[in-house]
């Protein structure tokens, strides 16, 4: 079925390289250097493609002047052959040019996506802290493609420039005035088109914005559809949607004028060139300086020049877009994490004796199951972030009495695992979700799932651990996601595990099972659980009570419940009377 195979190196590239992030232009130049070989190839075939189209007209003119007019059949066949050969050359060069354009587009696009992906995963939460997730997705979906788009045009652009010069030289060799008209006319016409693009840009931006809002409204309705169908209000929603849809339509209609003007302008300007060339050429015939066939060729050249002219305009548009796109890419790539690596990392200690937060006085001792009770969940999350070194700047957090900031981040993350309030699940099979670093033999996985009281989830799945976790784990309920995330946290077997509200979305029966199995799965290792559930609190070794930013009391749940009224009010929900 396939006649040709394409000799391209598989993408994505393995050598991504370090980009120049100092300006959008420098970034684009850096990308260009990385793919200079295929870029040069595109230029060569782009020239061949454009030149063969231009020279076709010389052959048509030759057929008229040397074959038809002097009534010479041999010469006619000869020129027809040349037309055919040029056509075939054009076809082959066109095919090569096209595939190299696609290769250039893909290489620039994919490399940028890889850079963005790598940067997001390597810089903690720096990107999401600075840029809304929707913007990042948009940059990858649209802006990066626009960067690729500029590289797509390069081969054709060079071909356009070269063919313009060649046509000018051919014309100059027969007529100075004709040559000059083409040599100067094309850039003049290209610059005349630019003003036509300006009004279009601003109206397009307005329309895109309105369309974006409409898309958000549509997605929002679908996301809340169950609720909408449950409590009603469909008419209101449809009316809102129609209103916004109408705004988009009106904005779209406003584009219609400028867009039509640009397109018809792109027809008129080359037509002027054709008229001037025909006029001058025909007068030369009257004066006896030119053959009729040559006039046909000149007419053809002028018609052909529409293509280079359009290509130049396309390049202006696409390179402007690429620069805007590069600016957005750089915004992502320049977002840096506040958590810094130490200049010289200390070796991770063989045994951990304690992890201590100087600010609040929270201390975790080796092998202990510790609970943390705070006034608000946000306070607990903040303490967890400090202990796990998710915040930058100077923090008085010490591991074995050494500042935690003196250890490398990789070591810290490996040994201290913090599971935040709403941990995320990712697309993939359940096995790799639970044990992302491999080594997930079923026995270990089942033990962890049992400890998280999550075996019922597994039972309900047709393919067990090989079942697919959908995007963000959305096929599971909130409670199921939480239990899977808990099992995943257990499976890290971290020396220190910090769990923030790990059972907030599960029912009491399940919570009580999780609590009773916690001790054995975290055997000999240190665990800190921020929770207010008595079912868990009664199972831990020690409860730390943080009030007004400091540890104010600690002890066993039962004792605290008896002696500390504030604790009782938070945990047992009794009124302070």
């Amino acid at each position: 079925m396939t006649l040709l195979t394409l000799p391209y190196r598989e993408l994505p590239a393995t050598d991504i390289g370090t980009p120049n992030l100092s300006s959008p232009l420098r970034y684009l130049v850096w990308l260009g250097r990385k793919q200079i070989l295929i870029l040069s190839g595109a230029v060569v075939f782009g020239m061949g493609w454009m030149l063969s189209q231009a020279l076709l007209w010389a052959a048509v003119g030759g057929a008229i002047d040397h074959g038809i007019t002097p009534r010479n059949p041999t010469a006619l066949w000869h020129w027809v052959e040349i037309v055919l050969i040029l056509g075939i050359v054009q076809g082959l060069c066109g095919a090569m040019r096209h595939q190299l354009a696609v290769a250039n587009w893909m290489t620039a696009t994919y490399r940028s996506i890889q850079l963005i992906g790598r940067h997001i995963t390597a810089s903690g939460t720096a990107v999401i802290d600075e840029i809304p997730a929707g913007d990042v997705v948009n940059t990858v979906g649209a802006d990066v493609m626009r960067i690729g788009g500029a590289f797509d045009v390069v081969g054709r652009l060079v071909g356009a420039l070269v063919s313009w010069i060649v046509v000018s030289i051919i014309l100059l060799s027969t007529s100075l005035s004709l040559g000059l008209v083409v040599l100067l006319g094309v850039p003049l016409l290209a610059s005349l088109t630019t003003p036509l693009m300006k009004p279009l840009h601003s109206t397009q931006a307005t329309q895109r914005e309105a369309a974006g809002r409409l898309a958000a409204l549509g997605a929002d309705t679908v996301a809340g559809l169950r609720i909408l169908r449950g409590v009603g209000g469909e008419e209101v929603f449809l009316a809102n949607y129609k209103e916004q849809s109408n705004l988009v339509r009106v904005a779209g209609n406003r584009i219609a004028g400028p867009q039509a003007a640009l397109e018809s302008g792109q027809l008129l300007l080359p037509a002027l060139l054709v008229a001037v060339v025909t006029f001058l050429g025909a007068r030369d015939i009257v004066a006896g300086r030119l053959q009729p066939g040559q006039l046909v060729a000149f007419f053809g050249y002028a018609t052909f020049l529409t293509t280079p002219l359009r290509t130049v305009i396309e390049y202006i548009i696409s390179s402007t877009r690429a620069l805007v796109g590069a600016k957005k890419v750089l915004r992502i790539l320049n977002a840096t994490s506040a958590v810094e690596e130490p200049s010289e990392a200390l070796a991770w200690p063989e045994h951990i004796t304690s992890l201590h937060d100087g600010l609040t006085g929270v201390t975790l001792h080796r092998g202990q199951l510790t609970a943390l009770v705070t006034e608000t969940p946000a306070e607990a999350a903040e303490i967890a972030n400090r202990l796990g070194r998710f915040v930058g700047g100077k923090n008085d957090v010490r591991l074995n009495d050494i500042p935690l900031a003196h250890f490398s981040l990789a070591d810290t993350r490996r040994h201290i695992v913090v599971s935040e309030v709403e941990p995320r699940l990712f697309t993939g099979d359940l096995r790799s979700e639970l044990a992302p670093r491999g080594a997930g033999d079923d026995e270990r996985l089942i033990t962890a799932m049992a400890a998280a009281s999550a075996l019922d989830i597994l039972d309900a799945l047709d393919q067990g651990f090989d079942s697919t976790v959908e995007e963000r784990g959305r096929s599971f309920s909130g409670g199921q996601r939480q239990r899977i995330a808990l099992a995943r946290a257990y499976l890290t077997e971290a020396d220190i595990l910090i769990l923030v509200e790990p059972t907030s979305a599960v029912d009491s029966h399940t919570e009580s099972r999780i609590a009773s199995r916690m001790l054995s799965i975290r055997d000999q290792r240190s665990t800190l659980i921020a929770t207010t559930s008595p079912l868990i609190l009664e199972k831990v070794d020690v409860v730390l009570v943080v009030r007004d930013g400091r540890v104010s009391d600690q002890g066993a749940h039962r004792d605290l419940a008896r002696t500390n009224a504030w604790y009782r009010s938070v945990v047992l929900r009794e009124e302070d009377e």
Partner: protein, 584 residues
């Protein structure tokens, strides 16, 4: 999960026909303008042909040159002007049709039956709302008009060729069989490839979204390399999808382009030979050759837009597929005799042969507060959905005052019973908009009262712009507890006599839940409440507690009765209250 249907070919054609009929006036005007423009464009080669004839005959004067070129210029000017109006018309028509399609689609989404929505999940609908609507936008706004225009141009150019010299024109048709067969082959193999490309980009963008939103988890669990591998895998899939379609084009393009130049060469050779033997004039041979060159452009566009049209048709089928699902609830039902809900020997299965409820019988008295407790997966939520009338039981009955709930029209059902789940959603719009959807006729005072009832008035008024503050994914972000409060305030407005709360307070901060429940219970006095409970204090506050275990009600009674029974509920309660238990 069962997915939503895709419209049949017949339905697609039917809908397309309706669209065309509705817009036939604009469509005809647009095509007429394009036809006139195309005719104007055909003057150029004809004028040049005449010029050449006069030049070879040797009687061409400067005056004639000037007149001819002025004719050429006027033709170009006319062409430009007509194209401008035609384009503008076609863009406006495209926008109008696209707006109609997306509005019609949303309207059909909003009338989907509850069961279909619950079963299909939001993923499929969301992809239709975003990807397919986007695809249709390209098809309707660009592909269809461009294609029709190219068709008109090609037809007229062909007509002009025949008009100038039918004898020469025959040669131009030499390319047709090449174009026809290669394009048929290309479309058959390439279109699925373009579909694959689109899916691969959707997956890629999904991975990026997941990565950026989950960057904290990725950092905490050192998932960077796995996530990078996944992204690389997505890129590789996109690359192969691109490579496949490229390969298809690499086979097709050379054939098309060669066919084009074969047509030009053949016309030139044949026309030249005819001119040599005085069958036609040199001018006619020249003009037809120029027309053949000109014909390449519309022909090229006709075949280039075909795959886009095919994909557009596929998206169109997915959009109108939603309207095929009809709500089969009756529009009328008998008036219930009382507010008593009776559940009689109910069985229910999601998959055939796998009952999740095994004969549940339960009578809920009006005004009663019933708590349902039990382990996850025991069937509490399923029972709740049946009591809320969302679905019908496989056997047995769920009735209110003798009328089966699942047979009630939706607007009647909502006045009797409402289901509140832990899923809450804040819509794009103001605080008031978010509440008013439950009762469009609600006054400002009604809305304030409802907010006050759930203890939300204070914080709502403290928002940057009070009740007019824009909320939702593009506006001010509420905490989950606040979002839940708004959901409850909606219910206050709907005012059903029975509420099914399915773990509605589960995601709340435990420190806030009790507070909210108290304020809610003050409002709901006199209403029947079935609370699928999560936290045991809910059960304590209830009139009766039902323990649901393995698809049956295993214990039923007041809190005190169940404590006295000393069964499963009692054990759990003791553990919750931190009393000594004999349970390990």
């Amino acid at each position: 999960m069962s997915s939503l249907p895709i419209a049949s070919r017949k339905d697609v054609v039917l809908h397309a026909r309706v669209l065309v009929r509705r817009h036939r006036h604009s469509l005809v005007t647009m095509l007429l303008l394009y036809a006139l423009a195309a005719v104007a464009a055909l003057f150029g080669p004809w004028i040049l042909g005449n010029l050449i004839n006069r030049a070879t005959a040797g009687h061409l004067s400067n005056h004639e040159v000037t007149v001819t070129v002025l004719e050429l210029l006027s033709a170009s000017l006319l062409y430009t002007l007509l194209t401008f109006f035609a384009r503008r018309k076609s863009y406006i028509l495209g926008e109008t049709v696209f707006a109609e399609l997306r509005e019609g689609f949303l309207a059909s989404i909003l009338t989907l039956p509850l069961v279909a929505v619950e079963r299909a999940g939001t993923g499929d609908l969301l992809s239709r709302t975003t990807n397919d609507v986007e695809a249709i936008s390209r098809t309707v706004r660009f592909a269809v008009p461009e294609w029709l225009v190219a068709l008109v141009q090609a037809g007229l150019t062909l007509g002009a060729m025949i008009l100038v010299s039918p004898l020469v024109a025959i040669a131009g048709l030499v390319s047709v069989p090449f174009l026809y067969f290669s394009t048929r082959w290309y479309l058959r193999y390439a279109t699925p490839g373009y579909m694959r490309e689109r899916i691969s980009y959707a997956t890629l963008s999904g991975t990026v979204a997941e990565t950026v939103e989950g960057s904290r988890t990725i950092d905490a669990l050192q998932l960077a390399s796995r996530q990078n591998d996944r992204l690389d895998g997505n890129i590789r899939e996109s690359f192969y999808a691109e490579m496949y379609t490229l390969l298809m084009r690499m086979n097709w393009f050379p054939i098309v382009e060669t066919a084009f130049s074969l047509a030009v060469a053949t016309t030139l050779g044949w026309g030249g030979w005819l001119a040599l033997h005085h069958h036609v004039s040199i001018g006619a041979a020249t003009a037809v050759t120029l027309y053949v060159v000109q014909l390449n452009d519309p022909l090229d566009r006709i075949i280039a837009w075909l795959d886009e049209l095919q994909m557009g048709a596929a998206s169109f089928a997915r959009l109108i597929g939603v309207s095929v699902v009809r709500d089969n609830r009756p529009t009328e039902s008998a008036e219930p005799l009382s507010e008593t809900i009776t559940v009689q020997d109910v069985r229910y299965a999601y998959r055939e042969g796998h009952d999740v409820l095994h004969g549940v019988t339960l009578t809920i008295r009006p005004g009663e507060r019933l708590a349902m407790v039990g382990p996850s997966g025991a069937g509490k939520s399923t029972l709740g959905r049946l009591i809320a009338g969302i679905d019908a039981p496989r056997s047995g009955s769920v009735e209110v005052g003798g009328v089966p709930l699942s047979s009630m029209p939706l607007h009647t059902l909502r006045q009797h019973v409402a289901l509140v789940t832990q899923e809450h959603h804040i819509f794009i719009g103001s605080v008031s908009d978010n509440l008013a959807l439950a009762k469009p006729s609600a006054s400002e005072a009604d809305i304030r009262d409802a907010l006050a009832a759930v203890d939300a008035l204070e914080w709502a008024e403290a928002l940057p712009e009070g009740l007019a503050t824009e909320l939702g994914s593009t506006g001010y972000a509420l905490s989950p507890a606040q979002a839940q409060q708004l959901a409850l305030a909606r219910l206050v407005l709907t005012n059903p006599h029975t509420l099914v709360l399915d773990e509605a307070t589960a995601l709340l901060d435990p420190r806030a839940a009790r507070h909210l429940e108290r304020s809610l219970s003050a409002v709901l006095t006199g209403r029947t409440v079935i609370a699928i409970a999560h936290r045991l204090h809910t059960a304590h506050d209830a009139d009766r507690v039902a323990v649901v275990n393995e698809g049956v009600v295993s214990e039923l009674g007041t809190h005190d009765e169940l404590i006295a029974l000393n069964g499963e509920y009692a054990a759990l309660w003791r553990s919750w209250r931190n009393e000594h238990t004999d349970r390990s």
